[in-house]
C-alpha cells in the first residue's frame, strides 16, 4: 500500500513538473510576451472614435503638376470644356449657369439692365464720370456673356501688331 502511495506521489510530481516546465517555457521562452503589454491591449480593434480619419488627400497628389504643353485652339467655351479636363479648363461655366434658377437669372438681368441705364444717365450728365463709365463697360460685357449663356464665341486674333 505504501509502495502504491509512493508511486502515486511520484506520478503526481512528474505531472506537476511537466506542467511547471511548460508554464516556465511559456513565460520565459521564445514566445514569451510582456504581461503588462498584453493586458493593455484588450481588443485589437480600435474604438470607433479613435479610428484615425480616412486619408482623403495626398500632398503629392495635390502638388502633382498637370501635363505641360500648349492648348489647342477652340471656337467656343462649350467645345473647350469638352476637349479639356476640368483641372485645365476650370469650372464649366455653361453647366453651372444652366443650374441657376430662371428667376435668379431674370433678377440678375434686371439688375444689370438697371445698372446700365443708371450709368448711361450719369454719363449723360457728366461724360467724365469715370466710375459710371467703368460700371457701364463691365455691365455691358456681363450682359453679353449672359445673353450667350456664357457660351462665349471666340474671335480669332493674333498677338502683336507692332504698330
Amino acid at each position: 500500500m505504501k509502495k502504491n502511495i509512493r508511486k502515486y506521489i511520484i506520478t503526481a510530481i512528474t505531472v506537476a513538473a511537466v506542467v511547471i516546465v511548460f508554464f516556465l517555457a511559456g513565460k520565459h521562452g521564445r514566445y514569451a510576451v510582456n504581461k503588462f503589454e498584453i493586458k493593455k491591449i484588450s481588443h485589437p480593434i480600435l474604438p470607433r472614435s479613435e479610428v484615425p480619419e480616412r486619408v482623403i488627400y495626398s500632398i503629392n497628389d495635390v502638388k502633382k503638376p498637370l501635363a505641360d504643353g500648349p492648348a489647342e485652339k477652340v471656337n467656343d467655351l462649350e467645345s473647350m470644356y469638352k476637349k479639356y479636363p476640368k483641372e485645365r479648363a476650370g469650372i464649366n461655366m455653361i453647366e453651372e449657369w444652366s443650374k441657376v434658377k430662371p428667376e435668379d437669372k431674370a433678377e440678375m438681368a434686371k439688375g444689370i439692365t438697371g445698372a446700365i441705364k443708371e450709368s448711361e444717365e450719369k454719363l449723360m450728365e457728366n461724360p467724365d464720370d469715370k466710375r459710371a463709365k467703368s460700371k457701364l463697360i463691365i455691365s455691358q460685357m456681363l450682359q453679353k456673356l449672359m445673353a450667350s449663356n456664357f457660351n462665349y464665341k471666340i474671335k480669332e486674333q493674333e498677338a502683336g501688331d507692332g504698330r
Binding site: 514566445y31 500632398i59 500648349p70 492648348a71 433678377e107 466710375r131 460700371k135 463691365i138 493674333e158
Partner: protein, 453 residues
Amino acid sequence: MKNKKGFILVITTAFIASLLVVALAIIGMSCGEIIQTRVYNDQSTAYYVARSGAEMMYNYLKAKEGETITWPQSMPSGDSVVRTRGSGGTIVGNFVATADTISSNMFGIVSTGSVNGRTAKVTVKYGCDAAFENGRPIGCAGAMSLKGAGWWIFKSYVRAEGPLASGSAITSNNFVQISGTTLQNQTFEPTNFWWKYNSATGTCSTPKAVGDTNGDNAYLTDANGDGSITLADAGENIAAQEAFINDDINSDGVVNNKDAFISYYTVELNHQGLNIGKNETRYYGSSQSFNYNSIPTGVPIVFVNGDVNISFNSTAWWAQNSNNTIVATGDINIAQPTNTAGNTLTLISYGDVNTGGVNFFGGISGNLVVCSVGDFNAYYGGKSNGAIFSNGQVNIDTVYPISGLLNRDIKKGTTNWSDSTNWPLGLPQNYGSWPLKFAIKADSVVKPIWQRE
C-alpha cells in the same frame, strides 16, 4: 500484484502522454494567440506612435507661428517615441512626420509610425494663414469703398481677406465681411516706373531720376515750378530742349510718369528679350479686345498702347504654369476672369482696372495680380486670389443682391514672392509686397482626436 503493477505503469504512461498532447495543443494555441496579440499590439502601438508624431509636428509648427516658414516641413529631431520607466527608457517605435500645404489656407500633417515592422499612418489637416511674401490682397493710395447689397432676404456680400490697406479712409456697409486687419490712412510709396535696365543683373532695378525717362542723365526738372516738366522748363538752352524731346517718349508735350511707364516696358524691360518694344511682335499700337485665344501659348507679356477689354482671361486654356501679363497705357476691363491653379494673370494699367462677373463660377484658382496707376473698380460678383493695388481709389460694389451669384471674394495670393521666380513679370519692383505670417487657425480646424479629448 505483478499485473496490477503493470496496469498502473500503463495508466501513468498514457496519462502523461495525454497530458503532453493536451499541453502541446495548449502551447500551439497560446503561441498563435501570442503572435496575433503581438501583431495587434504592434499595429496599435504604431498608430499611437504615428499619432504622437503628428502631435509633435503640430507642436513644432505651433511654435513657428508668427514666423515666415517654407514648406514642406519635417521634424528636425525626435523621430522616436520613448516610454520612460524609472530612470531608463525604451524606444516604443519610430515615426516620420511631414507637413505641407494643401492650399493657400490649409496644411496637412502626415505621420507614419513604425513598430517592429508594422506601420500606421495618421493624416490631419488644419486651416492656417500660410507664411509667405505676396502683395496686399487689396490696397490703394486713395480711398477705399466696399459695398455689398441687400434687399429683404436677398443679399450679396463683399468678403475680403485682410490686410486691407488704404492711404485714406475705408468705408463699408452691412454687407461687407472682412477677416484680418483693416489699415486706414497708410502712407504708401506710389508704384513708380522710373527704373532702368541693369545689364549686370538682367533686371530693371537701377533707379532713374524723375524726368530722365531714357536714363541718359540728360533731363529737365520743373524749373519754372508750374507742377510739370515741359519744354518751357528748358528755356533757350538747346541741349536742354533736346533732352526734353528725348525724354518725352509719347510726344505729348510733357515728361511725366506715363513716359516712364511706356519707357519701362517698351525699352527697359524689353531688354529681357520680351518683344514688347515699339514695332515688335508683342506690342499693340491701339486698343484691343482679348479673349482666351488672343495671346499665343508661351507669350508671357504683351504691351497695349490703349485700352484692353477681356471677356475671359487666357490663362485657363494654357498649360498649367503659363502665366501672362497684360500691360496697357489705358484702362483694362475684364469680365469673368477665370484661371486654374498655378496660373497668374497680371494686369498692369496706367489707367483703371475694372472687373466684374458671377461669383460661383468665377474660378480664380490661381492668382490675379493688379497694378493700376488709376483706380480699381469691381462690380457684381467674382473671386480673386492675389494682390490688388491701385495708386488711385478702390471701389468694390456688388450692385445687386442675388445670393450666391453676386458675392465678391477677395483672397490672399498663393505664391511666395520671396522666391524671385514667382515675382509676376512686369510688376515694378516697388510694388508693395506684404509678409504674411504663418498662423494656425484654431477655429477652422478639423481637430484630430487628441485635441478633442
